[in-house]
């Protein structure tokens, strides 16, 4: 049994770990942003005269002061570091106040006067799609940020074959990431002319691009370093990178170190959320239980800026029919601009929305057919060698849907408990229900983006090892996983390996640590680097000691007959004495993926993971209160590098997923977020949760060098539909809108 291992546990449990706001520098100034607070207006002028004279204020910065580019975006450049002339979102930042202290900056914010001319806003994505709707970004030419589709088989033939057609619409919530640490950034211009930035962000390389572009610098002149981050969940990409760019802008213009630390209120106001979706399905099924067609239209509210909406909605497109075989598919997915607070990457990345719908829809279909929901799933689910709706053949890895489903249903004793469900029995004062959901998920970025990563193993003359990868530690323990992989590959104890504080100036761009790609990509690169390093050392041993190396184990270099040739340290000393660097640079490029935008066909992801979760719960008919009694999950992770950390991902994902189904919803009014802090935007607390069971399923993946896949997102994407299915069996009613709010009898009649 491997034990829990974290390279950063000691620092974190003693309070010594330094997050961005915990750093300060001599002569450091503080800056704070002025938010628009209205969602659509023309910005005629900003009067800073009074604010500039407030005590402690050094400078007030607006869009005019930006030396480089104003607008950014990983896909479409529409997101301004400081809004200019036009306000598109209440989260737009119009000015930055730089002062001696946070308090003074805060006081001055209130004295900035804006001259605005209202212009009508668009808050309903369906209205934004109408032909005469005003354009949010006229230069984009349309309010459709992006469109994806799938055309497989013949939908008319599918309709003819269907014995029953089910039509149902679903909607999902706008969700706050609610990472516990609000955004923060600290920037200073070093004497060598490099702008150095630390920040609470999960994509050091896009942060570097944003900083460099804002200042008009080359990438070599910006160095972004990584410090511990208090949670990200996909949420510390665009907004967080811009906070860093603004800190750098202030530092550049003021010639002194500048820190920007957001209050929770600022963070909620400005940061992007999870996309709310409206999803309408038509599904045809045959008497024998087979799915004959799936037709679906999804509209995702992207808000005022593109962010990664095209990628998020692309995943929804690829996975539009859930983990099932469907011969005829017609899918249209729109990412739409509105004046709402914008939406972007969020753990799950377009799959939680689809799963919320499809995992209820299959149960509705099964019931209409008079079929058991387990049998219906088993009959239609993707199996070894199945072809997905995008025409990808699943034969390069173990397709373990059946396995994960069986494990969960057995563990929770589904078939027995299924009979105990209340279905809204009016004679009971507590209703019991059990439900589950299953999913498949494409790993890493897929055809969404360039997918590669690198790792450096740099062995020091004393045999200790420095490891660096292009993966960012978001708090999930990815550095620890990389250390464990390197330790195993080199036959060394973890204590000999140090993960070097990564810097954008030292390791090549490894893309963003989202899409659960940390372990698979960084782990792949680490494995490759270790392979190279082993062959460098083996060659040195062969050339200078005349012995053939077979393997590296427990700090020894062994031959094929298990004889020790020399110790690791001796081998390293040998390398240095013979002028050979025991240094390796490993690259892992994701295997080729493909996508045809027109047909929606292609090998969308190079590998997939499979999961199942089940929930037991109780509903109080009088109050509508839902209490979760039990949660069980099984996920195929390929290989569990650090089992306790993997379990932590299970529990955390299920908890976030349960909140998604039950309570989480960011309220907006005319596009602006109305919850100001965590008392109004609530997330689940320890007393809201039951004991959870995590079942790790391991089918090593041949296409992953470390054999591991990912676990961050799968754990979140099926909890909410499992809850909805359990609520159905408790109440006898379907809840297709998130979050679930139990309708009481009186409301039903009224």
């Amino acid at each position: 049994m491997k034990q829990a291992f974290r390279n950063d546990a000691l620092a974190k449990v003693t309070g010594r770990a330094k997050y961005t706001d915990d750093y300060s520098m001599p002569g450091m100034l503080h800056a704070l942003p002025l938010h628009a607070d209205c969602s659509s207006a023309l910005l005629r002028g900003i009067d800073i005269s009074k604010a500039a004279k407030m005590p402690g204020v050094l400078r007030i910065i607006t869009a005019e002061d930006v030396p480089g580019e104003i607008k950014f975006g990983q896909i479409i450049r529409d997101y301004p570091v400081l809004a200019h002339k036009r306000i598109r979102s209440s989260g737009d930042v119009l000015a930055l106040v730089v002062a001696q202290s946070r308090g003074e900056a805060n006081a001055a914010l209130k004295e900035i006067k804006l001259e605005l001319k209202d212009s009508p806003g668009l808050y309903d994505p369906h209205q934004a799609l109408l032909p005469d709707a005003p354009l949010i970004h006229p230069e984009h030419g349309s309010n459709i940020c992006n469109y994806h589709r799938v055309r497989t088989g013949d939908i008319t033939a599918g309709e003819k074959e269907a014995d029953i057609i089910i039509e149902e619409s679903f909607s999902t919530s706008r969700v706050e990431h609610a990472y516990l640490e609000p955004e923060s950034a600290l920037a200073h211009l070093r004497p060598d002319g490099v702008m150095e930035v630390i920040g609470s962000m999960q994509h050091p390389f896009s942060t570097r691009r944003f900083v460099a572009a804002t200042l008009g610098f080359e990438l070599k002149d910006v160095e972004v370093k990584t410090v511990p981050m208090g949670g990200g969940f996909g949420g510390k990409d665009d907004t967080a990178a811009l906070v860093c760019a603004r800190a750098a802008l202030c530092a550049y213009l003021c010639g002194r170190p500048v820190k920007i630390t957001y209050s929770r209120e600022m963070s909620m106001k400005e940061s992007y959320k999870r996309h709310p979706y409206d999803i309408s399905y038509r599904m045809g099924v045959k008497r024998d239980g087979g799915i004959s067609f799936v037709q679906v239209r999804m509209v995702a509210d992207g808000g005022a800026y593109c962010s990664v909406t095209p990628w998020v909605t692309w995943r929804s497109t690829v996975q539009c029919s859930g983990c099932y075989e469907a011969p005829n598919v017609h899918c249209d997915v729109y990412g739409v601009y509105t004046n709402n607070i914008f939406t972007g990457a969020f753990r799950g990345f377009g799959s939680p929305q689809v799963n919320w719908a499809i995992e209820q829809l299959v149960e509705i279909a099964a019931e209409k057919l008079g079929m058991d929901e387990v049998d219906f799933r088993r009959m239609n689910m993707l199996k070894q060698g199945s072809v997905t709706v995008t025409k990808q053949k699943l034969d390069s890895h173990t397709v373990s849907l059946n396995e994960v489903m069986d494990k969960v249903l057995t563990e929770i004793d589904y078939h027995k408990k299924r009979k105990l469900c209340s279905f809204g029995d009016p004679s009971l004062d507590k209703w019991y229900g059990i439900g589950f959901a299953i999913s498949y998920r494409g790993m890493s970025l897929g055809a969404e983006g360039v997918d590669m990563n690198s790792a450096i193993l740099n062995v020091q003359p004393d045999g200790s090892v420095l490891l660096e990868t292009g993966v960012h530690e978001n708090g999930q323990g990815s550095e620890s996983a990389m250390i464990l992989i390197a330790a195993e590959e080199l036959g060394l104890p973890v204590s000999r390996i140090r993960y070097r504080m990564p810097s954008t100036s030292n390791i090549p761009d490894g893309g963003t640590t989202v899409a659960s790609r940390g372990t698979i990509m960084g782990g792949g690169a680490t494995t490759k680097a270790a392979e190279i390093l082993r062959s460098i050392i083996s060659e040195a041993v062969k050339d200078h000691m005349g012995k053939s190396v077979d393997r590296f184990e427990d700090g020894w270099i062994l031959d094929a007959r298990d004889q020790r040739i020399c110790s690791w340290d001796e081998a390293i000393r040998l390398c240095y004495s013979k002028q050979i660097y025991p240094y390796a640079f490993g690259v892992f490029q994701a295997p080729r993926v493909s996508w045809d935008e027109d047909t929606g066909h292609g090998d969308a992801y190079f590998t997939w993971v499979y999961g199942c979760q089940a929930v037991e719960l109780e509903v109080e008919p009088k109050t509508g209160k839902i209490s979760i009694l039990n949660m069980v999950a099984a996920h195929d992770v390929g290989r569990a590098i650090n089992p306790d950390m993997v379990k932590g991902q299970f529990y955390g994902g299920m908890t976030m997923g349960a909140g998604y189904g039950l309570i989480e919803e960011m309220p907006v009014k005319e596009g602006a977020v109305t919850a100001t802090n965590l008392h109004q935007y609530k997330v689940l607390r320890s007393t809201d949760l039951p004991e959870m069971t995590a079942i790790i399923v391991e089918n090593p993946d041949p296409l992953s060098p470390s054999k591991a896949k990912g676990i961050g997102e799968p754990t979140l994407e099926i909890t909410a539909p499992a809850i909805a299915n359990a609520v159905y069996r408790a109440t006898g009613k379907r809840y297709t809108d998130q979050p679930i709010k139990i309708r009481r009898e009186s409301e039903d009649n009224g």
Binding site: V13, T14, G15, L180, M645, Y651
Partner: protein, 160 residues
């Protein structure tokens, strides 16, 4: 005005009384283990011990704690620098992810164990209700508190 923090007594000018305890700890004393997640008393990441009670330092003014003893996360390790059994248990149980909630969690758990050395899992859940964690789903944190309680209790029994 006198305030003791982690065993060190600080003498302060009276006009400091309106300053927030959390700001003073972080900015003046450099005790950055106390984290600010919300600033309004709902997330628990700023929790410190005031005498033996867990309190949210973002809601306290220095005048509220004069003549009291404050313990922050930096003050709970053993005198020889080794970890407190509760800290050890957090490490061993995999109770730490991003770690931003960890100091507050440890302090709240410590306050619980001082009051109730053998809590049930439900009692642990209740005691941690005021501490938000967005990463762990709380389960391994509860495991950690349970493990620490067992360890502390058995050491106490054997030293009797």
């Amino acid at each position: 005005m006198k305030i003791t923090v982690n065993g060190v007594c600080y003498k302060l000018a009276e006009d400091m009384g309106a300053r927030l305890l959390s700001d003073w700890l972080r900015e003046d004393l450099g005790l950055i283990g106390t984290k600010i997640g919300c600033g309004i008393g709902v997330c628990g990441s700023c929790t410190v011990l005031v005498d033996k009670l867990a309190k949210r330092s973002c809601l306290l003014k220095l005048s509220d704690v004069q003549d009291h003893e404050i313990t922050t996360i930096e003050g709970i390790a053993n005198a020889d620098g080794t970890l407190h059994p509760l800290q050890e248990a957090f490490v061993d149980c995999g109770a730490i992810q991003c770690g931003f909630c960890t100091p507050g969690m440890v302090i709240s758990a410590l306050a619980l164990l001082m009051k109730n050395p053998r809590p049930t899992r439900d009692e642990i859940r209740k005691a941690l209700k005021g501490n938000l964690c967005r990463c762990t789903g709380y389960q391994q944190i509860i495991d950690a508190v349970e493990l620490a309680a067992t360890k502390l209790y058995s050491t106490k029994q054997s030293s009797k």
